[in-house]
């Protein structure tokens, strides 16, 4: 047992961090709202860095890495709030031609989650659906879709879709089950990165902002909010990393409980930290200009995907005793 990052894992995170710093500074991320959330050139650059193909075998153009490495990558993407259907395209690599290379953008939804809100409708080439019976490629020409003119998260544009049919089968129930687990952990990892970014931006603000002739971070009421943000993030980190490792290592036993706990705690860390960050930023926290609301809104969006907090608490409870 050695539950620390290997030097290769650290290097991987560092490489993706550099990519995000160079290609996804916040002005660029915000501008992506104007193009449906995805810029094709940037998407290909992510593909070239291995974001989608990472877990494929080397023969298939991948790096033969595990879910643990994928989670570490998604954590960094979450920090930078990179938009787009990243998790779905990553899951589709190897199944949908062109997904791994970044040539086709793949979106998806859970078929149980009526009303059907299809994310990134103008950016995706392929829409997948997951349900208990398997994976399906939806025939979008037969969907009726009403654009959402005012999406909650400006970086998650959506359509309300009607008449969602299964379409062509792309996987058996076992594939669907595995996608749900992988999807929950990768989404959890992304949320973890968001939670950490929120802590950092709030700590930085609390050191800068002065009231009563002192930095607000010197007031215990603020300091303790920030301490709780940090603690929540670290607990979520342990849960997410452990679940990812569990998915890679069958000898550790069935992963369902660890995965549910990971998504649950990471989702809570991101939403609670975003709300706390809003409070710490005062009036600035309620402005469009400050990034906090973009994190809060994304956290709410992601909390509805690959199982809500309540769903996952129920899963854990069902596995107890």
């Amino acid at each position: 047992m050695d539950f620390t990052l290997t030097s290769d894992q650290e290097a991987l995170q560092e490489a993706v961090r550099k990519l995000c710093e160079g290609r996804f500074p916040m002005e660029r991320v915000r501008a992506l709202a104007e193009v449906g959330g995805v810029d094709r050139d940037l998407w290909r650059e992510m593909a070239d860095a291995g974001v989608f193909s990472l877990r494929l075998s080397e023969a298939d153009g991948g790096a033969a890495l595990g879910t643990a490495e994928a989670a570490l990558v998604f954590e960094v993407l979450g920090r930078a709030l990179v938009p787009g259907p990243l998790v779905w395209t990553h899951l589709a690599a190897g199944l949908v031609p062109g997904a791994a290379e970044g040539d086709r953008v793949v979106g998806g939804l859970q078929r149980q989650e009526e009303p059907f809100l299809v994310e990134y409708p103008d950016a995706i080439d392929v829409l997948l659906a997951v349900d208990d019976d398997g994976l399906w490629e939806v025939d979008r020409s037969r969907l009726s879709a009403r654009p959402v003119s005012w999406p909650l998260d400006p970086l998650t544009p959506a359509h309300v879709a009607g008449g969602l049919l299964r379409g062509e089968r792309r996987g058996v129930p076992g594939d669907a089950a595995r996608w749900r687990l992988d999807g929950a952990v990768l989404t959890g990892a992304y949320l973890l990165g968001m939670a950490a970014a929120l802590t950092e931006m709030s700590v930085a603000f609390a050191k800068e902002r002065q009231q009563f002739d002192k930095p607000i971070g010197s007031f215990q009421a603020i300091k303790h909010i920030l301490a709780d943000m940090f603690v929540r993030t670290e607990v979520a980190r342990a849960a997410v990393y452990a679940a990812a490792v569990n998915l890679d290592e069958p000898a550790l036993g069935p992963p369902a409980r660890a995965v549910a706990g990971a998504k649950l705690l990471a989702g809570e860390a991101a939403t609670l930290n975003a709300k706390a960050a809003t409070q710490v930023h005062g009036g600035m926290g309620f402005t469009w200009e400050v990034d906090v609301h973009l994190y809060l809104k994304r956290a709410w969006v992601l909390d509805t995907t690959f199982g809500t907090a309540d769903d996952h608490a129920d899963v854990v409870a069902g596995l107890l005793g």
């Binding site: 603690v231 705690l265 608490a313 409870a317 107890l320 005793g321």
Partner: protein, 392 residues
């Protein structure tokens, strides 16, 4: 990142389990909480059994008679001890987890030779005389005075909240030796034999109704200068060396036990009925229990992370304060859930069914965890200032 136990760890687990299986039946049964002589007898007997089997001082270096186990082996140890329902450190808490490690780190060879083997064998029980009526969170403001007189210190003052004082042989005592110096620099760490004339132990009654801790009155108590650990006026540093230790490691067995208790609670919830359904059929309650279980799982993994970091870097990471803060608040929420499951059975500390009384007693006991060993507020200050770098 690797969460698999090594073959060595697994071999250790198998050996330990086999040993516990045959050793546990030989141990006298647990006694009433308030029967302190019997509690001391049982805890020290178990300690002696561990010693004879080579499991004492699982976390102590081999040079000082401990097992010198790898940190991962320590986790295996705590897991197995709790799974089997074997005793926790009990009255040996201070000796094994605080005074002992301090002596290892800071004491002279003759002091080590005299006390370390005795602690490991369960022959010496220790208590911690740090807190005072006006020095709690602000421990460095302590006032108990020690004045040099020849080869002795003469001590006058009062300590409070001294756990296990009524059954202790020795006390790790913090005294003020230089009242003029800034508060952190006038403190000295002494070994006080509890049978010294002038030491008066007056048990205090806790919310559980028993006396886990006492007041300690010190009236012209003479302690030889030879009992000093570290230099005069260097006691604050000596005490701090092992504080992170107390915060981190001492909670590990407690957490292993909490995992077991939560499983027990689920079993109880599945059988207690309300009207026509069981408590477990209550969707809201069940969901909260699932939530708490996820948090406890995550904290256990956090311990593994902290332990792995410590094994790699040699210093305990940020984990200790984080785990202390989160765990102690979580275990109180779990206690609340237990009371909700028990419903009216929670009126009784006697068992109404199964071990119902134990859950009620635990709910009371864990109230102390967010206060002792650095309150939750102090932990948040530490995290805010030392980890996040926020101004004071």
């Amino acid at each position: 990142m690797d969460l698999l136990w090594t073959e060595e760890d697994e071999r250790f687990r198998a050996e330990l389990r086999a040993w516990i299986d045959q050793a546990l039946p030989k141990l006298p049964a647990a006694t009433k909480r308030e029967d302190w002589d019997a509690r001391r007898e049982r805890d020290t007997t178990w300690q002696r059994m561990l010693y004879d089997a080579g499991y004492a001082g699982i976390n102590w270096p081999a040079d000082f008679g401990g097992r010198g186990a790898a940190l991962s082996e320590q986790l295996v140890f705590y897991e197995e001890i709790t799974t089997a329902g074997a005793p926790d450190v009990g009255v040996n808490f201070v000796g094994l987890l605080h005074a002992g490690p301090t002596i290892i780190a800071e004491a002279a060879d003759d002091q080590r030779a005299r006390h370390l083997p005795a602690i490991l064998k369960g022959e010496e029980v220790w208590c911690q005389g740090f807190s005072e009526p006006s020095a709690g969170s602000d421990l460095a403001s302590l006032r108990t005075r020690a004045v040099r007189d020849g080869d002795d210190y003469v001590i006058n003052g009062q300590k409070i909240w001294t756990s296990f004082a009524q059954v202790s042989d020795y006390c790790e005592l913090l005294v003020r030796t230089d009242p003029e110096a800034p508060k952190h620099t006038g403190i000295t760490w002494l070994i006080l034999p509890m049978d010294t004339p002038g030491v008066d132990v007056r048990p205090l009654r806790t919310v559980i109704g028993s006396s886990e801790f006492s007041e300690l009155y010190l009236d012209d108590v003479r302690v030889p200068v030879a009992n000093r650990v570290g230099a005069e006026n260097d006691g604050w540093r000596v005490a701090m060396v092992t504080f992170s230790f107390e915060r981190g490691t001492s909670l590990v067995s407690e957490m292993a036990e909490a995992r077991r208790q939560l499983d027990e609670l689920v079993k109880v919830a599945k059988v207690v009925t309300r009207g026509s359904a069981t408590a477990w059929d209550d969707v809201g309650l069940r969901r909260e229990i699932g939530h708490a279980a996820a948090e406890l799982d995550a904290l256990w993994n956090m311990v593994k992370r902290t332990v792995s970091e410590a094994a790699r870097t040699g210093v305990p990471g940020v984990g200790a304060s984080v785990v202390k803060l989160y765990y102690t608040e979580l275990i109180q929420r779990i206690g609340d859930l237990a009371l909700r499951v028990l419903d009216r059975a929670s009126l009784s500390l006697d068992d109404v069914f199964d071990h119902s009384g134990h859950f009620v007693e635990e709910r009371l006991r864990v109230l102390a965890l967010t206060i002792a060993a650095g309150s939750s507020q102090i932990q948040r200050n530490i995290i805010g200032e030392r980890i996040l770098g926020l101004p004071r």
